[in-house]
């Protein structure tokens, strides 16, 4: 069913970005514009987008068919026909709901966080642009438009990570994020191309692909599924393309909250969910995805136990939770994975925002031990932080429990006990390191009286709203065995290839097991860190604390060798051979010219001689032709 509103969801933040850009140019060239103007434009536009999304959500709830909006034909070459078309089916409206809502809250938060910054207007321009790109990604009807949004969020991520560009470290982090993402993008494009040819060039929109999927040869489907997942690996920071995510924490905290917790990193999972028809027909790749998710979750959790920067801990925890989401999605439980995306957006954004508030209050200190040493009293921030930590550890009735438990139950049911085991152990580690963070920063005694510090309302109010979501969002998918409606499951049920149907006893047992594991983690953290001496920070030596030296390994193997190759091509091939060759040709021309210039010696007698020679040659020629007749 056609609707004109899909475009407006995307266009409103885009207009906000353009307005902010225009105003910002005016601001730096002519007269200063007060921050309020940028803030109002920046925060009103996501809210309007959210209202539009809500409208479409209710339409779909009433049972209408999938909403579409075609703009124009973009490419029409031979058999490749790409339209700029938006699709508002249950999956994309679901995604854009929480993207716009959480995005709106974080925009409000950013008003308080970025107060007094010189590039205030620029920040909101980039932020709105990011939101518009993410919405393009989510609402796209074919992989090409999805890729436009994919690239857009990558660019905005780069722009925002290196926001304080005068510091070279930030710029390097931005470069790293963009370049590693690029490796993933290559996989994505190759996957789309493979899929296009596998489907015998029959069309690229998701719906046509879904209907034609059975006529594609299996090997090509496996290949394209793998390649598409490489793109997801880059965007969603899974092993081995995760190295950019911890470095991306160099950007301001609102960005970490929005991009690297709630939206951009979930683009990979959304993409896998969009291609569910592909992954359902090649189960080997699905299993591969689940294993990569499990490995990433475990790997990140281990590293997070020894990190000392508060934002890096949260970054690794994001990577770990993304691993959970891929576990769910890879096994065919799209609704569980996407539900975890939903709940994770709430509590991770809240955790990041709380961390940002604490960082601001403690004058941009990010090391958890130093933060503990100079602790101030921040009631709302510590309360919401506690709620977030409990939610992520998977303690009922907070939302994290329901989503995580559904994924673990699915893996147990499918017989993937290894994945289930890794998931359980990672849940233990998650609880452990999150409570380690909480205890050190907010609880461990430092022998001083902490002073109360006021935090801006624009920071605390979004925190409170998200806290409500973190606590109660779980009830949106209350499992059937407790008599709930399992709303999200039924909303996204058309994606699922597998249904949960275990005996109640198994389900209860698994739930108790995951609660026990989380409780054990909390207990161990409590024993170790609740009364930790914050003046003796943990050492930074060791394999785990150095992130398993992965960055150094990548640098040596990939970066240095490519640099050497580039230098070789630049100095030797380009300068010596290509330049040298061309210059040699030029010099030869000049030499020939010089030799010919000797003929022009300004002595007219010689010119007469040349003329005579010319006439003689012509007459010789004519004479010979004349003889022939």
């Amino acid at each position: 069913m056609q609707t004109p509103y899909l475009l407006w969801i995307i266009l409103v933040p885009l207009i906000g970005a353009l307005l902010n850009t225009g105003f910002y140019f005016y601001h730096i060239k002519y007269k200063k514009i007060p921050e309020k103007v940028f803030a109002i434009i920046g925060t009103v536009t996501p809210f309007i987008a959210f209202l539009f999304t809500l409208n479409l959500f209710f339409k779909l709830l009433d049972g209408s068919a999938n909403l579409e909006q075609t703009l124009f034909q973009w490419l029409d070459v031979d058999s490749l026909s790409v339209e700029v078309k938006f699709l508002g089916d249950k999956l994309s409206i679901f995604m854009s709901m929480f993207v716009t809502f959480v995005g709106w809250l974080i925009h409000i938060y950013a008003v308080g966080y970025m107060k007094g910054d010189d590039g205030f207007g620029k920040f909101f321009a980039y932020f709105n642009l990011f939101l518009a790109s993410m919405l393009i990604l989510v609402l796209a009807d074919n992989p090409i438009i999805l890729f436009v949004g994919w690239e857009g969020v990558g660019v905005c991520s780069y722009l925002l990570i290196s926001f304080h560009y005068t510091n070279a470290d930030n710029v390097m982090a931005g470069n790293k994020a963009f370049i590693v993402n690029r490796v993933g993008d290559l996989g994505f494009i190759l996957g789309v191309i493979t899929l296009f040819f596998a489907l015998d060039q029959s069309g690229l929109s998701f719906e046509t692909m879904k209907t034609n999927i059975n006529m594609a040869p299996n090997e090509l489907l496996i290949l394209s599924g793998f390649l598409l997942f490489v793109g997801a690996m880059g965007k969603s920071a899974q092993v081995p393309l995760y190295v950019w995510l911890p470095d991306a924490m160099a950007g301001p905290t609102p960005i970490s909250a929005l991009i690297h917790a709630a939206t951009m990193v979930t683009a990979g999972i959304y993409m896998v969910a969009r291609f569910h028809f592909l992954y359902s027909s090649v189960e080997e790749i699905g299993l591969f995805i689940a294993y990569i998710g499990a490995i990433s979750a475990l790997f990140a959790a281990i590293i997070a136990t020894r990190q000392q920067d508060i934002k890096k801990i949260l970054a690794y925890s994001t990577m770990s939770q993304l691993g959970y989401m891929f576990m769910g999605v890879g096994l065919g439980f799209y609704s569980s994975g996407l539900f975890h995306v939903f709940t994770h957006a709430f509590f991770k954004a809240m955790l990041f925002m709380g961390a940002g508030g604490a960082i601001l209050a403690l004058h941009h200190e990010q090391n958890i031990f130093k933060m503990a040493q100079h602790r101030k009293r921040l009631p709302i921030i510590s309360a919401t932080f506690l709620i977030g930590v409990i939610a992520i550890s998977g303690i009922p009735p907070f939302s994290g429990f329901f989503s995580k438990d559904a994924i673990l139950a699915a893996s147990f049911q499918q017989g993937e006990y290894l994945i289930w085991g890794i998931g359980m152990f990672t849940a233990f580690l998650t609880a452990f390191y999150m409570f380690r963070l909480y205890f050190i920063v907010f609880v461990a005694p430092n022998g001083q009286e902490s002073q109360y510090t006021y935090t801006d309302k624009t920071i605390t109010i979004p925190l409170l709203i998200l806290a409500i979501g973190a606590i109660f969002a779980g009830f949106l998918n209350f499992p059937a065995i407790f008599g709930g409606s399992a709303f999200v499951d039924s909303w996204l049920s058309e994606l699922n290839s597998i249904k949960l149907h275990m005996s109640h006893a198994t389900e209860y047992a698994l739930m108790i097991a995951s609660i026990a594991v989380a409780g054990a983690g909390i207990f161990v953290a409590y024993k170790k860190y609740a009364s930790f001496d914050v003046y003796k920070p943990e050492s930074e030596e060791g394999l785990i604390a150095n992130k398993f030296y992965v960055d150094e390994f990548y640098d040596k193997v990939f970066v240095q060798s490519i640099k050497k190759m580039s230098t070789f091509f630049d100095e030797t091939v380009d300068t010596k051979y290509i330049d040298g060759g061309l210059m040699m040709i030029c010099r030869e021309f000049v030499n020939v010219g010089k030799k010919l210039a000797i003929l022009q010696n300004a002595n007219v007698r010689y010119y007469a001689f040349y003329m005579l020679a010319g006439i003689s040659a012509i007459s010789m020629y004519i004479y010979i032709t004349l003889l022939g007749q």
Binding site: L612, I615, S616, A617, S619, M620, I622
Partner: protein
């Protein structure tokens, strides 16, 4: 009889021309040219062009050659004033080689024409009357133009050879 005269005149003309091309002293060259011009005048007479014969002797031999000889003597050229010409013979040889194709071409073209009677005509051709008739009817315009040309040459010669005054201070 005519053939004999023709051959003699031709040899004189060619010899004069040859002397002119090869000799170092310009006076000898001028004399060679003079002989050549006079021989060509005789050839004109053999071709029944009586008026041309007279004009050639009066204008060419009488005026142009005289002026050349006069100038040569006027400029008081000494032995050392003459330009050194070390490569003259080689250049002449090269010139001969260059001219051969042109000659071949023209002579080949001429030889393909039919033969005709080239004997001397007594009356009615080549005289002043016939020349005048043609000149003032068909060739009137070229005639006028030639006279303008001669005027221009006259003025030009005077202007060029005038003594130049020393350049004074220009105004402005």
């Amino acid at each position: 009889m005519i053939d004999f005269v023709f051959v003699a005149l031709s040899i004189c003309a060619i010899a004069g021309g040859g002397t002119m091309v090869l000799h170092k002293n310009p006076i000898y060259c001028a004399v060679g040219l003079l002989i050549s011009v006079l021989s060509v005048a005789g050839l004109f007479a053999l071709l029944s062009a009586t008026f041309m014969f007279m004009v050639q002797i009066i204008v060419y031999a009488g005026a142009i050659m005289t002026i050349i000889l006069f100038l040569l003597m006027f400029l008081n050229i000494k032995e050392q004033d003459l330009p050194p010409e070390p490569k003259k013979n080689i250049l002449v040889a090269m010139g001969v080689i260059l001219m051969i194709p042109i000659n071949l071409l023209v002579l080949e073209g001429v030889s393909r024409l039919e033969d005709s009677d080239m004997s001397i005509v007594e009356e009615g051709f080549g005289g002043i009357k016939e020349l005048g008739m043609k000149l003032y009817t068909d060739w009137l315009l070229p005639f006028e133009l030639i006279s303008i040309l001669l005027l221009v040459a006259l003025v030009g010669a005077v202007v060029l050879a005038k003594k130049r005054e020393k350049r004074g201070v220009k105004n402005g």
